[in-house]
């Protein structure tokens, strides 16, 4: 279903370019606040490197905690973009046009942030490059049997692919911007547009390249989160060693990705006065997608927990009990409410499905999915097989600061991005209005 477009072509350009020049007081305030939070997060990281990773709350046996939770969460958010926009492109969904660039930018930024967490998490971050297969005089290779090396490979592939995927549809807009600007801006935009002139041959090439990238990025995105899930599923730890973790994680990733997209779009819509472009129909369609993923998520969560409970294997039941009625029960039930009950009611009942409820559900889902990842990582580790080794975990200010800072970093990157290029692809949008 295509959005009803009646906006004249030159209005579109004026509207979508307006946010590029000048900065309102709200914009400046937002940059300052997020910038300070990011700086604080960097300080916390520096403190952690200097003093030792012991400044975080991790302790034996909970060797992984907030950082890995954040890692999985942000890689999940990255599925907003590329995956959703790729599906929409491949299915020729006309309503995708004002959504795709916003979504693809989320992907790139979320990957930049998510990809940092394995480094923040390392005991000795200074030699992180041991994980990379680089030529060295002692012929030492990383261990290709380790899921962490698969992970590294998958994320490198994904970030490379999604940067290209974001960049390709930027070319016509960058060339257009270069034509209409002066001074250093003109030089930069012209350089970035790689000599795009808008010939028929170029348009055809762009279309072909975008289709090809959409197909490939789809495969990469699914494999990336499957590999992330294997970090857990390959271990023999109770309630990690599960065959459905691959699809379960991919589902959760798309679920949280759509939620992030809805939140970001709502903020852009209000902040940049793009009400005429990001219409209720876009939110309605995304809300339906969110509802679909909510049901899929509920299905997987039920399958996962029911089989563990019915199987009644002692070491798994200990972890299951911790989650459902033990230390982590409040988090577990909050997750169920936020990920299932709220979106199911607000978005499932047609009368209740508005932009407002979509945003409320989406924020809930983001919190819920973060909790889901935390509940996968920590309870399993806190309850290893030998009861004598059982432990607890609570975060310190360092982990909390760095976690908060990454959300601020996302906002900051987005704020900067929205000043550099139009957040909605102008040529693509005009394409609709031109017929």
């Amino acid at each position: 279903m295509a959005a009803a477009v009646t906006i004249p072509s030159d209005r579109i350009r004026a509207d979508l370019w307006r946010p590029l020049s000048g900065a309102g007081s709200w914009y400046v305030a937002a940059v300052v606040v997020t910038g300070l939070l990011v700086a604080w997060g960097l300080f916390a990281w520096g403190y952690q490197i200097h003093t030792g990773i012991g400044v975080v709350g991790k302790r034996r046996p909970v060797m992984w905690s907030f950082y890995i939770t954040n890692f999985v969460f942000w890689i999940g958010i990255s599925h907003a973009g590329t995956l959703i926009s790729a599906i929409l492109r491949l299915t020729h969904a006309g309503w995708r046009r004002p959504v795709t660039r916003a979504a693809e930018a989320i992907t790139v930024f979320a990957l930049m942030i998510g990809g940092l967490f394995p480094l923040i998490h390392l005991g000795r971050v200074g030699i992180f490059y041991y994980l990379i297969p680089y030529p060295n005089e002692r012929m030492l290779w990383p261990n290709f049997r380790s899921p962490l090396v698969w992970d590294l490979t998958a994320i490198f592939t994904y970030i490379t692919g999604s940067v290209i995927y974001l960049y390709l549809p930027l070319l016509p807009d960058l060339a257009d911007l270069a034509r209409h600007s002066t001074g250093p801006h003109r030089t930069i935009y012209r350089l970035l547009s790689l000599g795009w002139t808008g010939s028929d041959r170029e348009w055809h090439a762009l279309e072909r390249a975008q289709k090809l990238m959409a197909g490939m990025i789809l495969a990469v995105a699914v494999s990336v989160h499957t590999v992330v899930s294997w970090d857990f599923a390959m271990a023999v730890a109770p309630m990690w060693h599960s065959t459905i973790f691959g699809p379960y994680f991919v589902t959760g990733a798309i679920f949280s990705g759509i939620a992030a997209l809805i939140v970001v779009m709502a903020i852009i819509r209000r902040g940049m006065h793009l009400e005429a472009y990001l219409e209720p129909v876009h939110f309605d369609n995304l809300a339906k997608l969110l509802l679909l993923m909510c049901l899929l998520w509920a299905y997987f969560t039920t399958a996962e927990n029911l089989t563990v409970w019915y199987g009644n294997e002692p070491s798994e039941m200990v972890v299951f009990g911790e989650r459902v009625r033990g230390t982590y029960a409040p988090l577990f039930w909050a997750m169920v409410i936020l990920n299932f009950v709220v979106p199911f009611v607000l978005l499932g009942i047609r009368r209740l499905r508005t932009i407002h409820t979509a945003v409320i559900s989406a924020v809930g889902v983001l919190v819920g999915m973060w909790l889901e990842r935390f509940l996968i990582v920590v309870p399993t580790l806190a309850r290893p097989r030998l009861p004598a080794a059982w432990g607890t975990y609570s975060p310190t200010w360092v982990e909390v600061s760095i976690t908060v800072a990454t959300f601020a970093a996302m906002a900051l990157l987005y704020l900067i991005f929205s000043k550099l290029v139009p957040i909605i692809a102008v040529w693509e949008y005009k394409h609709v209005s031109d017929g």
């Binding site: 034996r60 046996p61 261990n143 962490l148 290893p384």
Partner: protein, 228 residues
């Protein structure tokens, strides 16, 4: 035939005195913990004595089980390390290469026995304890994993001595610190590839079990326990 080092621990003899724990600390330069860090669960003990309580009060019986790295033949910690910092050496020891370890802690997660310890900070010893370090054992830096080595330094020394004297390492010549210090003589160490060694003969005992045997990790620590 290369050595294949293994250990037998007779749980029916263990009194839970923890002499093995103290000896291990002294031998292996294990970093000391502060009360705060220990309360957090960050104390490092390459060998620990797990306690299991049987029966209802007042008729309670405590059973002790010293748990150290089981040096599994199929060790779950090994394949998951992205940098080969832990691997199976030719003598069947599961060894940790401190210089190579980047500190992902994945091995710690995947060890079903929870015997891997992480250096959360650079290790510190209150004066003058830093003067009693064992010169044969590396002091581990912050940010790396460590665990029981079966006192690799003693194995190396015994092999060197034997080589110098042109003979094979004798049975009982290598004694890890825990084995040496056990007053109840509950622990025996030796070469499992030598069918005549004490440890081989004891491992064949009808009382022999392995910890979490059903996981298929093939531990080289064999526990002897009367089966009721």
């Amino acid at each position: 035939m290369p050595h294949r080092w293994g250990m037998v621990i007779d749980l029916d003899r263990c009194t839970g005195c923890e002499a093995c724990v103290a000896a291990c600390h002294a031998e292996n330069n294990i970093p000391l913990s502060t009360p705060e860090e220990a309360a957090k669960g960050r104390a490092t003990h390459w060998i620990r004595v797990d306690r299991y309580y049987e029966g209802e009060f007042p008729d309670v019986r405590v059973r002790y089980m010293p748990v150290l790295c089981q040096h599994c033949d199929d060790a779950p910690c090994e394949p998951v390390c992205p940098v080969y910092a832990t691997y199976q050496n030719p003598e069947g020891l599961n060894v940790q290469v401190y210089n190579r370890c980047v500190g992902t802690r994945y091995c710690g997660n995947n060890c079903p026995y929870s015997v891997r310890f992480f250096n959360w900070f650079e290790p510190k010893w209150p004066e003058p304890l830093q003067l009693q370090h064992n010169p044969d054992v590396a002091v581990r830096m912050g940010g790396v994993m460590e665990k029981c080595t079966f006192c690799l330094q003693r194995i190396q020394r015994a092999k060197r001595d034997a080589k110098d004297e042109g003979r094979a390492v004798a049975d009982g010549e290598v004694q890890p610190a825990c084995v040496q210090s056990c007053p109840a003589e509950a622990m025996v160490f030796g070469d499992l590839n030598d069918p005549e060694s004490k440890v081989s003969r004891m491992a064949k005992s009808g009382r022999g079990t392995r910890l979490l045997e059903d996981l298929g990790t093939k531990p080289k620590v064999i526990y002897l326990q009367r089966v009721k």
